[in-house]
């Protein structure tokens, strides 16, 4: 019996020697790679032991990657502390590299899984939103509309820190711009998301913390914006009394592709092994089962919950400055403050008839009657402070409300609808009055952004001259400096004078004659 053993052993030695000599060219060494990973990817950790077993490559995941991969690539001459990066998306990072004007080489990158950024709704919220959406197909605009009127409260990760939050923000902003293509600089020069943001009641540094917090306190929100995968995982965890209904918004979504990046080109061989392993059908199936992300390997059949269409992907902006502007405007989701807008509305007799009807329609539209996609984003929202000043030869009426309910909006609409007219037009006296209101508001609540909207259809024929207005404005000091005036030129207004006043205060002019009063008001909503 000894001999067969010896023979077998000898045979094994030969076979192994052959394997070894041949394997030498592949390099069979055990390798440990340090991976800078997005926190979203913590759910892949249980698979890593198997990766090491199969390939000899051990991955040490360090979940500290930020949305645009701060610290990468390291300064010239310094070696990166990480060999690979595994991100929810490398878009922001690539845009940052692009801005660095070519000094930096982009790392090799391979998509591993995909998941769209979508909305999870409680059954009640889903029913409500579907009821108000055309054809029952819910869009980001419908969510913004419901957020602005206080019927839906949502949670979303902080776009300043989380890539998921950032992707969500880009998706919503792209839908708000409504151009059908990627956001451009001019699309983000005004912040169209203030109404949307007014509905945010829950945030977290990342989407995992977000879903955890929500699972503990589901009464804090009716909707979560996150990757489809994170929402499916939350539903599968059994921590919710009823699963969230996952909605792929009609106006599109941003798709994350979870790329693995090679930061240290010297580790390309091990990188290749890891990529091959991750893309193999078995691993892709296991990743899908554990993480609910969609496989990129065509041979893997998606599970039933992942067979639904993801809808249309929205284009991502091609400049990081655009993304940064969005993130800055969105600010700190926890300390959101509503704006104050001071509307100075010309009620001289020339406004009688069609013009006043147009003004009423514009106000009604901003109060929620405008059911277009842009109207849903631009509308007045809960927490916003609105001042309406009707003027003729002097101030006819002045009223400030903080929007808490539809009743507040009805109050404003009534002022606009029922007000009487005056024979004269004191444009600069009205603007002077507007700046006194604005300066008081800034002093009372410095964190609240204030803007003035001046709408007139005629030339100044009484009250202060423009020069006097400027002198008084200058004496108001710093409180008035941060308040831009947006002028809406209508009818026979003095276009040049309005343009001058807007430019002097950091605002701009829109010509309602080119479109409509409604469009003109929408165009300057959220401008700053």
């Amino acid at each position: 019996m000894r001999r067969p053993t010896t023979a077998l052993t000898a045979g094994l030695v030969l076979a192994l020697l052959a394997t070894l000599t041949s394997a030498c060219t592949d390099g069979g060494d055990h390798v440990t790679l340090r991976v800078l990973a997005s926190p979203e990817l913590a759910d892949v950790a249980p698979l890593l032991a198997e990766l090491e077993e199969d390939t000899g490559v051990e991955l040490e995941l360090d979940y500290t990657a930020t949305a645009d991969l701060d610290g990468q690539p390291p300064a010239a001459g310094r070696k990166s502390a990480h060999d690979l990066a595994w991100l929810a998306s490398d878009r922001s990072f690539l845009l940052r590299l692009q801005d660095s004007a070519g000094g930096l080489t982009r790392p090799e990158s391979t998509s591993i899984m995909r998941s769209p950024v979508v909305v999870g709704l409680t059954p009640d919220a889903a029913r409500d939103l579907r009821g108000r959406a055309p054809g029952g197909r819910i869009s980001w605009a419908d969510l913004a509309d419901a957020a602005a009127d206080g019927t839906v409260r949502f949670g979303m990760a902080d776009p300043r820190r989380s890539d998921t939050g950032r992707a969500a923000l880009v998706g919503v902003a792209t839908a708000a711009a409504g151009t059908g293509s990627a956001l451009r600089e001019e699309d983000v020069s005004c912040d169209r998301l203030r109404g949307f943001r007014s509905g945010q009641t829950l945030t977290a540094p990342g989407s995992r913390e977000l879903t955890d917090t929500y699972a503990e306190r589901p009464e804090t929100a009716d909707a979560l914006i996150a990757h489809e995968a994170e929402l499916l995982s939350l539903n599968a965890s059994g921590r919710l009394s009823a699963p969230l209904e996952i909605v792929h918004p009609e106006d599109g979504m941003v798709l994350s592709d979870f790329p693995l990046l090679l930061l240290d080109p010297g580790e390309r061989e091990a990188y290749g092994k890891v990529v091959d392993w991750l893309l193999s059908a078995d691993t892709q199936r296991e990743l899908m089962r554990r993480t609910h992300r969609r496989p990129v390997n065509q041979d893997v059949e998606p599970s039933p919950e992942l067979r639904t269409s993801v809808g249309n992907a929205l284009s991502f902006p091609d400049r990081l400055a655009i993304v940064r502007q969005l993130v800055d405007d969105y600010g700190d989701p926890v300390h959101a403050t509503g704006d104050q807008v001071v509307f100075l509305l010309d009620f001289s007799t020339s406004m009688r008839g069609e013009r006043i009807a147009a003004l009423r329609a514009a106000f009604a539209g901003l109060s929620g009657a405008d059911r277009t996609s842009t109207g849903k984003f631009a509308r007045f929202y809960r927490g916003e402070r609105l001042t309406v000043v009707r003027f003729g030869g002097s101030v006819l009426e002045e009223r400030t409300v903080t929007v808490r309910s539809d009743a507040d909006l009805e109050t404003l609409d009534r002022i606009v609808a029922d007000g009487g007219f005056d024979d004269a037009t004191a444009v600069w006296s009205a603007l002077d009055r507007g700046y006194r209101i604005a300066a008081d508001a800034v002093r009372a609540a410095p964190e609240r952004p204030v803007a003035i909207v001046l709408m007139t259809d005629g030339e100044n024929n009484t009250g202060l001259t423009y020069a006097e207005f400027l002198r008084r404005h200058g004496r108001l000091g710093s409180a008035a400096d941060a308040v831009p005036t947006f002028t809406v030129q209508f009818g026979e207004a003095d276009a040049a004078a309005l343009k001058r006043a807007a430019a002097a205060t950091g605002g701009r002019t829109v010509d309602a004659g080119l479109s409509s009063l409604t469009d003109a008001f929408k165009e300057i909503r959220g401008c700053h």
Binding site: M1, R2, P4, T5, T6, L8, T9, A10, L12, V13, A15, L16, L17, A18, T19, L20, T21, S22, A23, T25, G28, D29, H30, G56, L94, L95, A101, G102, T105, R106, E108, S109, S111, R114, P116, G178, T179, G180, S181, A182, L183, E250, G252, L255, P265, R268, R294, P295, V296, Q298, P302, V310, G311, N312, A313, L314, S315, F316, P317, D318
Partner: protein, 430 residues
């Protein structure tokens, strides 16, 4: 410690220490590993040459890595003692970055190849084994929308079934890419009585083709124009058409200043057709051919070979064509000519193989390339025959044979750099 080294020590020790009569546990344990290794060697065809020297070549290539990553091509090359280790990046990226330590490069088209050849001090060996047209990959409902909008014409399928190919009139198509209808942002372009976003899919009738909806603009998704040959070639096609089917930079040759301004004007005119898509995306074919392809982008810029390889594989797997994915063939058309360029002696061997080895060239046909064979006029007969034999509709030659010629390298570089705001190339320090 490596797995193989550990595995090889254990049996050796076991021969000394065996006391019991049964096969020792660690030998049993090692058995599957050894057998797996042996089987792997047998399958990969390496058994006969475990001790023979295999040369590993460092290569840089873009989409043409599809050829070198094909298992059959790898097997054939191993038979010649060559393994190709590929660093994958865009062709213009290859051409504009340092090539230190690289044996061979395979840019997907002539512009990048020319930049690389210009950078070499010595004469180098190279081969252009095949060509492949630039095409737009789309999906049936979108193609039918373009037919309805009057910019595409379906090719007739031989069996009267659904066609895989459409001819695309570029000048008309380009008017759908600028995001306006004669300067207006909204219009009723499809005559359905609703003013919709100009040049959006719904606006040109997508929502009436099969009741689906896409409010996004008609856009072609491309890879990065600063890095990719496909995107660069697409730019030269756009420039050629926008210049009235004339190669840019060929007018006013006697007045450099005028010629320069004309090129800049042209670049400014075509820039929006690219930049409206927002951020570029790598690996167009991968996303186009993925399950989510139609969601990711209605139209992707790809090469014909990538589509045909997919159809061949699809037919092998399922016995039928993938009739959801269809191709748009632009008129005028643009042909790309990849060039394998050797930078070292090892690279020279690979170039020679591709010049001479019939098996490698036959395999290229099976991967959807239009292969050059000496003594033949066309490059399409063998490919079309192969497609026919495999149950796949062969694309018809476009009756309008206007070919878009790439402008001079210097002119093309100016257009690319203008449109993509590209960084200057990296120079190798000699």
């Amino acid at each position: 410690m490596s797995h193989s080294a550990r595995a090889v020590e254990e049996p050796r020790l076991s021969t000394r220490q065996v006391r019991r009569r049964r096969v020792p546990r660690h030998v049993v344990g090692a058995l599957p590993i050894a057998l797996a290794g042996l089987i792997a060697l047998l399958i990969s065809g390496n058994t006969l040459r475990p001790f023979e020297r295999i040369v590993t070549l460092e290569a840089r290539m873009a989409s043409k890595s599809d050829f070198f990553r094909d298992p059959e091509v790898q097997r054939l090359l191993l038979g010649h003692g060559i393994r190709v280790d590929i660093r994958r990046l865009g062709s213009r990226g290859i051409a504009t970055q340092s090539l230190t330590g690289t044996d061979v490069v395979f840019p997907s088209g002539q512009p990048a190849a020319k930049i690389i050849l210009d950078r070499q001090d010595r004469s180098v060996r190279s081969v252009r084994p095949f060509v492949t047209p630039l095409v737009l990959g789309t999906f049936r409902d979108y193609a039918d929308t373009l037919v309805k909008a009057g910019v595409a014409t379906p090719q007739r399928a031989p069996d009267g079934g659904p066609t895989l190919y459409y001819d695309l009139k570029m000048p008309a198509f380009m008017s759908l890419l600028d995001g306006t209808d004669g300067g207006r942002g909204t219009a009723d372009q499809d005559g359905d009585g609703r003013p919709e976003g100009a040049d959006t899919w719904n606006g040109i009738g997508f929502d009436t083709v099969r009741g689906r909806s896409n409010s996004g603009r008609v856009l072609v998704r491309t890879s990065n124009v600063c890095e990719s040959n496909a995107a660069g070639t697409y730019l030269s096609l756009l420039a050629f058409v926008a210049n009235g089917n004339t190669t840019p930079g060929t007018e006013n040759v006697n007045d450099p200043r005028l010629a320069h301004d004309a090129v800049t004007d042209l670049a400014a005119r075509i820039k929006p057709l690219i930049s409206l898509q927002g951020m570029w995306a790598d690996e167009q074919a991968d996303s186009y051919l993925s399950d989510l392809g139609e969601s990711i982008a209605p139209i992707s810029l790809i090469y014909e070979h990538q589509y045909l390889a997919h159809q061949i594989a699809h037919h092998d797997r399922s016995g039928e064509q993938d009739t959801d994915r269809v191709l748009l063939y632009p008129t005028p058309y643009a042909l790309t000519e990849p060039q394998l360029i050797s930078l070292t002696d090892g690279g020279d061997r690979l170039v020679r193989l591709l010049q001479e080895d019939g098996e490698l060239r036959d395999r290229a046909i099976e991967l959807g390339f239009r292969v050059r064979f000496s003594g033949e006029d066309g490059t399409s007969e063998r490919l079309n025959a192969y497609l026919g034999d495999h149950g796949i509709q062969a694309p018809a030659a476009n009756p309008d044979q206007t070919k878009s010629y790439e402008p001079d390298l210097e002119v093309l570089e100016r257009i690319i750099t203008y449109v993509g705001t590209c960084p200057p190339p990296v120079q190798d320090t000699p």
